[in-house]
């Protein structure tokens, strides 16, 4: 197994073009576990930790940016929490549930996207927040892939063999965001199922993301439509109990969970309904309180 260590983004793209079978490596918190367990043995590892372009984040204005955040694929969970927690609270909450402090110091949302596990903790908030993935190849340059189109199957994503993830783009939160995850212990646990919600009051829209409840992370479109229409965006009136429940039911219906060693499909569906109901309630109450404070 070759170990490739490009120093620049251009070199990394060239290396990936030349060796499409090379597996990109950031923190190694996923890749190294699979190698240790002998799950697969890639022909080469493409170590991206020296590529400085991936290690930063920025706010991009203008026509393409529109004030969105562009977060390099090498930004660790710890930095997402510490540096971007205020602007991306949903993603920061999800990052806080990843592994142990040591894992969060190494692991990255870019790596999470690359692995594309249905249980990846970063995915639901990226879906709910309306993120796009910036993919790049030496041959064809940059293309933007909406998060909702990025996950194509269990541990499969939309990247071409010669493409690498440069960054993800996402607007800073324009309203409350929550992430919630079921695990069978109180820390360091893989999601049995997870749910993210993001309010976009400017667009009078609710974004969602489900994790560990289908072959891929996915949005709950019907739940989004229901809540977007149901919520009293102008008056900031309360969210009724029945509406919150309906939102939960629709979120659960969006899932196609399986029975596995971590939980039953029935429990996952049930839990998603509870998480969706609770997180929307928290988010809407925050929104109402923010409005009250502003007035």
């Amino acid at each position: 197994m070759d170990f490739l260590r490009p120093a620049t983004w251009a070199d990394a793209l060239a290396a990936k073009a030349e060796r499409p079978g090379a597996l990109p490596l950031q923190g190694g918190t996923d890749v190294m576990v699979e190698i240790n367990f002998d799950v697969h043995r890639p022909e080469a590892l493409l170590d991206l930790t020296r590529v400085r372009e991936l290690a930063g984040w920025d706010t991009v204005d203008g026509d393409t940016g529109g004030g969105r955040l562009r977060v390099g694929a090498g930004v660790t969970y710890t930095r997402l929490i510490e540096e971007l927690g205020g602007r991306l609270p949903g993603l920061a909450q999800a990052s806080r549930t990843v592994g142990s402090p040591q894992i969060r110091n190494r692991g990255t949302a870019g790596g999470n996207l690359g692995a594309a596990s249905p249980a990846g903790d970063a995915h639901p908030p990226l879906l709910a927040g309306g993120a796009e993935v910036e993919a790049e190849s030496a041959a064809r340059g940059v293309r933007m892939i909406p998060a909702a189109d990025f996950f194509t199957g269990v541990k499969r994503n939309a990247l071409e063999p010669d493409e690498l993830i440069r960054a993800f783009w996402t607007p800073p939160a324009s309203g409350p965001q929550y992430f919630s995850k079921i695990g069978t212990r109180n820390a360091m646990v893989i999601a049995v199922c997870s749910f993210a919600v993001a309010l976009h009051p400017g667009e009078r829209r609710v974004g969602t993301g489900l994790g560990s409840a289908a072959p891929t992370p996915r949005r709950a479109a019907a739940a989004e439509e229901f809540a977007s229409a149901e919520l009293d965006w102008d008056g900031r009136g309360p969210l009724g109990e029945a509406a919150a429940r309906r939102f939960g039911e629709l979120a659960a219906e969006a899932a196609s969970p399986i029975d596995d060693v971590r939980g039953t499909g029935d429990y996952r569906r049930h839990a998603l309904a509870v998480l969706a109901r609770r997180t929307l309630t928290w988010a809407w109450n925050d929104h109402r309180n923010a409005g009250r404070r502003a007035s």
Binding site: I182, R185, M188, H270, V274, R278
Partner: protein
Amino acid sequence: MASPVRSPGQVAAPGQGGVGDSPLRPDGTLKVAGEFAYASDLWMDGMLWGATLRSPHPRALITSIDVGPALAVPGVRAVLTHEDVPGRKTFGIDRTEDQPVLAVDQVRHEGEPVALVAADHPETARRAMELIAVGYEVLAPITDPRAVLADPEGLKVQERGGITRHQPVRVGDVAAARAAADVVVSGEYEVGIQDQAFLGPESGLAVPAEDGGLDLYVSTQWIHNDLKQIAPCLGLAEDQIHMTLAGVGGAFGGREDLSMQIHAGMLALHTGRPVKMSYNRYESFFGHVHRHPAQMRYEYGATADGKLLYADVEIVLDGGAYTSSTMNVTGNAASLGVGPYEIPNIKIDAYGVYTNNPPCGAMRGFGAVQACFAYESMMDRLAAACGLDPVEIRRRNAVTQGSRLATGQVIDSPAPLAEMLTRLEAMPLPPPLDPSDLRNLPGGVAQTTHGEGVVRGVGYGVGIKNICFSEGFDDYSTARVRLEVIGGEATALVHTAAAEVGQGLVTVKAQIARTELGVQRVTIAPADDRVGDAGSSSASRQSYMTGGAVKAACEAVRAELLALAARRLGGRWAAADLAVVGGKIVSRADGVLGTIEEVLGDEVVEETREYHHRPTTALDPVTGQGSSHTQLALCVHRAVVDVDVDLGLVKVVEMAAVQDVGKIINRTGVEGQIHGGSAQGLGLAVMEEIVVSDGLVRNPSFTDYLIPTILDMPPMRLDILENPDPAAPYGLRGAGEPPTLSSTPAIVAAIRDATGKALNRVPVRPEHIVRGAPWTA
């Protein structure tokens, strides 16, 4: 003027770090700093790496094995099968040699070793292993222990039949008591497979010796019992093998059975090279036995005021394919099957059976854990049926000194269970939930609730565990102690074969030597077979047994030292009038006479002693009667939980425990044992299970076999009692296992209290709380 007679402590200050003190453990800093050398760190220039090919099937006939392709891999030095076992082809821990060193013509569980590879590099060994072609004729696995019980001749995993051991207990007249009972309650309970989940995987190094023998460095629990099993299989005499304990990263019973010892020995003898074997985490789940899963049926009858009249109990323990410790685990389940309660009429049938499920054997609590979950669940059921408080029902039926156990054995040392419960109940309860910090809530920072759906519950659990080996086993330990002056300072060298597995025995041995010999400097020799058998680091027995042996050897050394002092100090004092305190030879009448160094000079005093505990008897095979245990230990727990009843998630808020340890040798150590045992019991209560379907393990990793983290394990309130057992050294009581028993039922009782669900199975999973049947008395 003659001095008044004084106690030695008044004339010379005892040194620090003796019995009752809590000196730092010598390995503590190294372990915390990541510098301790575990068995997996063993290294020798030129060594080969061994790998084990294991069966992917729980039950199959082996039709062929072709090692050719593996042997052809460059860097491969040996590929061995059962044909290459130099001596006896089978081994076993309890004199039942039914486990093949390497599978011969069939495999009986997933992960059973089939062939071995030694290569220059571990990766080469693994790659070559995958090239060994094994032909299997796959058979339907036998996986239902109750089906085996119903048809032990038809569903035979072992030649001797389907049942490993049936131990009945018969006391009084259950049928008559049933007719007389005012209240009858019954329940069926199940315990899943718990794993020891020690962090240091099975590892060791085998080095061929020049004389044709072997040096083995292995992380084990019992050096001498390993040797007895290894030598015949390798075709060597026991004295041709020298065994030294390598750094052990936890054991909990999982290192009582052999793992890589014979395999590494075979590869080393075959290649003439040192061979290291170290399992990875996945392999470790197949490399050792687990806790027996149990299916249990209980029926209790009582008077209207809650006095137990009878117990009718069936306990079925699934031991998997080989005998391992199932005989003794079944014996414990029988003798302790109804716990520390006085019950005049008893019928217990405890069974150990063979199946093609994962092999099970020793784990902390050893047969008493499974029964404890059931009998404590029953006590809560009975309390509800009688309209009594759960603590009160336990107090009314509690044993005390003089009570009889189910086996008829009279408890002949303090057993103040009722008092312990009263003390436990009186401890303050934790403050109500503060939901402002997510870490306080069920689900933790995964933020599944901000307080919605969270209900608090409180539960109690009681457990009784036998300490040391039981049922007539001649249980002993050996210690050699040497006292000499090194660099001007009196130094004691303590040498035993007892395995330090993390429990702190090395610290305790040094404390005993300091107390008995009055010296400060104590060196603990590495544990090896150059001294007599110490028995296993299990059954909560090493402070008792090896502590007792070290004490006895020290007493012998001290007697010799004082005799020497009597001679050298001019014959004015008789040895009997002298004592050693704080490094000084002291006369009761005349105070300090001199230092140990002055008396010893160049003399070396060395003594070896064996320590045997009081003999026990076998259980009667028909009535289960007998004084089978040498010591019994009690622990009681109160658990407070917050349960998210909508999601089935649990946060254990606090555990409080009262345990009688007879004498605190090392408070930090005892507290660590109670914390650790409680944490392991918490794991069994709410998360730890090896999930098996059709004989196949579905979660052999720490991703999916979850053990408690620091956010799961709450702070504890401890009340440690010291009611001495006159038969034991210093009056101590083994402390390691009892808290593992009572914490599990206490937590489940608390969850039942919060949820109103029946929860007859551990570990309790979220779906059991959300979807499970309600609890009814």
